[in-house]
Symmetry: C2
Subunit: 469 residues, 2 copies
């Protein structure tokens, strides 16, 4: 599997110099942009070279056996080419072409043909109807149509991170990668698996156990093999965040026309997630918004949360959200309340703690009092940035969270654009909405609980990993 | 009520030259920033002037009777001052001081004292524990602590809009105003009513029927008088979007300590909303994200929605959200499907319509085919901006929506920051999440339905109003 993300040589079958050729965009990103050092061959009817990559008129004609083939030609040609690849001894194939099982009976028949070749030859196949793999550390990318002029794209390869995604659809890949550019966690690997006739989510969960991945995000339109997925998830020592469409009959029908999955029963999937310790997401945006609670904060090790706001309304809003997230508003002890009274400027020393206009030291004192309190498992600051010193205080809060080994899910009730700018500029894990903060605490606690049940707590705390500050 | 937002003269009681004096910040914003042309007086113990505003040592000593008094002194002094104002003949008072019913029995007793003065004198009171009023067109603002250096603040007064807010809490005011700065709808008036011992949400809904307001947004922690609110809402010809905290016992308790409301039964509030045609919001962010569906788009006049995406996954995600929003995926007629086939590049001509890489004309053709179809009541475009021409196409879409008198709830599956930048720069009503788009169509249809039931459809279509392009 490693070589799917880090091949020493590849052939792009279908890359040519015709205008709008999609295969050529793969050669371009590898050669011009990523400075990929492996060999890149191309196959096209003329046998012409593309962007300096040696060209051949067929797979049998190739002068070497590359680690991986990327196929991007009309669907009807694909089964024959896969057979050629098998005969040539190529062990890995990514089929990016669409027009298979998602496109009706004829396509489904072709997909079965491909399956048979794979099974008899032992080659592994990704797709069809997919984008394949991206690896930031190896600077490899098999995606077609990537626009390397996007600043977002640059940053993704410049600053590798530790989140890996298994995504059935290209569109979601773009959303996630762009969004992380405005966040403080980075990408390790992304794989788009499309119709997943062979390599599926279970294979990839297994694979991501052994590399730099810290959090696994999945977007599924259907489940390939429920039992294998559950087995892989149960063994996972890394949090798995999964968004699945098809909750309603309408969504399931739309998914089928997209990546050819059978509409799996949504309730069964829901209980499978609970059983296997996968965290089911409520919105597609949670795929990119929630990982930072794992990489930037200690786990939430109990359900008692203290809130702290400089705007009373948000205490009340947050109390509703916390209850809906299945967590508890902690009842602060008399001792903690007495300390808070001394800190001054506090309107309400009960939870939610509510302060008026106050100097920086008051903020710092309250952070410390709440994190140090035995009855508090985690903190939810809802702090409007009305002066820049609030941002400075949040920076201090990160250190305190590490010291007390308790998380804070920070929300700033400011315009989203402004909150994102602060997050990007100051490297503070700020959530964009109050809902996200509540969910972040919830998923942190879910992961903690499932690891505890399985006896796997020892090595699961990502935040404690060295070098992750 | 009008003079609460547009007084010819005011007195700020409690403004002084002491450091950190909050009353002085009100004088400053009126004099230095808003160029308020009315007279501003101040009352403080020394009788000193503040920022050029003539000072008096008491209310009886005032040389004139201003249209309105703003009181911002320690709570214990407030009842006496209110009495002085009544005797002086001042008809309107905003009490910004906190420390009343939200603060326990003693505060509640003071609040009752104030009530009695108001009732016997006929004066109207806003607050206590509030910020008062802001009016963009009159350039008036009674809020304390406003930082006029905020760019967001500038823009709000520079470009008046047509959304008016009734908000119980100052913190939510800041969130909403900042967020609208990054949106394409503007503010008409904002009023923060705090503990609302006299003027309440019902008074303000009535008042906003007669001015430039097109959409009313409300943040409530409790309901002052359910019957009056329902009567006002039932008469409203303008959509009322309301977010109420206290859904859970935890939230209700937090609200009580904030603005002293009794925890009203949430289920009763829910059914009251349905009965009176108020639209209950699901998140605080909907207060600023949803109004644009009313001001920038025709109403949704049926529940049949067509989706159009250039990324198949989003069709499937959207289908789930649409079903959850209570709307219907329209079944496209054979005629419409045949037209879509001719448009070319279409992967799926059934709803959701799904296209691959395609030129601008294909986008425009599909917009036109779907909006022109009799079976389609509204459009949900989910279009990733992978080339800038997609933005140009969306601009054309706005004109087509107007022509066909059907709305489009545009979502761009890009990073939120990027979508917001396009929205602000190009004046296209883009929603930040798929959830928001679905909700926008839902609330548009809810308002249409409630107006139809009441026979009030004729003048309720905001978008058709002249001069609103």
């Amino acid at each position: 599997m490693e070589k799917f993300f880090n091949p020493e040589s590849v052939v792009v079958i279908g890359a040519s110099n015709s205008p709008f050729n999609l295969g050529a965009t793969i050669c371009n990103i590898l050669k011009d942009y990523l400075d990929y050092t492996g060999a890149v061959y191309v196959v096209n009817s003329k046998g012409e070279q593309v962007n300096g990559c040696p060209g051949f008129s067929s797979v049998p004609a190739l002068s070497a056996v590359p680690d991986m083939a990327i196929i991007i030609v009309a669907a009807r040609h694909v089964p024959g080419i896969v057979r050629d690849c098998a005969e040539k001894g190529i062990k890995r194939v990514i089929i990016e072409s669409a027009g298979f099982a998602e496109d009706g009976a004829e396509g489904a028949a072709m997909q079965r043909e491909i399956d048979e070749v794979a099974q008899s030859s032992g080659m592994r196949i990704m797709g069809p109807n997919c984008l394949g793999t991206l690896s930031t550390r190896n600077k490899f990318c098999s995606f077609y149509g990537v626009n390397p002029s996007l600043v977002e794209m640059n940053q993704i390869f410049e600053v590798p991170g530790n989140i890996s995604y298994i995504i059935q659809s290209g569109g979601v890949v773009v959303l996630v990668m762009e969004s992380l550019y405005y966040d403080l966690v980075g990408i390790n690997k992304v794989v788009s698996i499309g119709n997943k006739c062979d390599v599926d989510e279970a294979d990839l969960i297994d694979y991501f156990q052994k590399d730099e991945t810290q959090v696994i995000g999945m977007y599924l339109e259907n489940v390939a093999d429920g039992r294998r997925l559950m087995e892989a998830a149960e063994k996972s020592r890394k949090p798995i965040l999964v968004f699945k469409t098809g909750k309603t009959p309408e969504g399931a029908a739309a998914a089928t026309s997209h990546t050819a999955g059978m509409a799996n029963d949504d309730l069964i999937f829901d209980s499978a997630c609970r059983q296997a310790g996968m965290i089911r997401l409520k919105s597609i945006d949670e795929l990119h918004s929630l990982p930072k609670i794992f990489t930037q904060m200690p786990l939430l090790k109990g359900n008692r949360v203290a809130m702290f706001t400089n705007s009373g309304a948000f205490g009340s809003i947050a109390a509703d959200l916390l209850a809906e997230a299945g967590l508890r508003m902690v009842t602060l002890s008399d001792r903690t309340q007495a300390k808070l009274k001394k800190a001054g400027q506090v309107f309400n020393v009960k939870n939610p703690v509510d302060i008026g206009p106050a100097p920086p030291q008051t903020y710092l004192d309250i952070f410390e009092i709440l994190l140090a309190a035995d009855e508090v498992d985690g903190l939810w600051p809802l702090l409007s940035v009305w002066q820049t010193f609030v941002i400075d205080c949040l920076e201090e809060l990160l250190k305190m969270c590490r010291h007390y080994d308790k998380p804070a899910a920070i929300y700033t009730p400011n315009a989203i654009s402004k909150s994102i700018a602060i997050r990007t500029g100051r490297r503070i894990p700020i959530f964009e909405t109050a809902e996200q903060s509540a969910r972040a605490l919830c998923v942190s606690f879910m992961f903690y609980n499932s690891m505890r049940k399985r006896g796997g707590l020892e090595n699961c705390e990502i935040f404690a990993a060295p070098g992750m500050e």
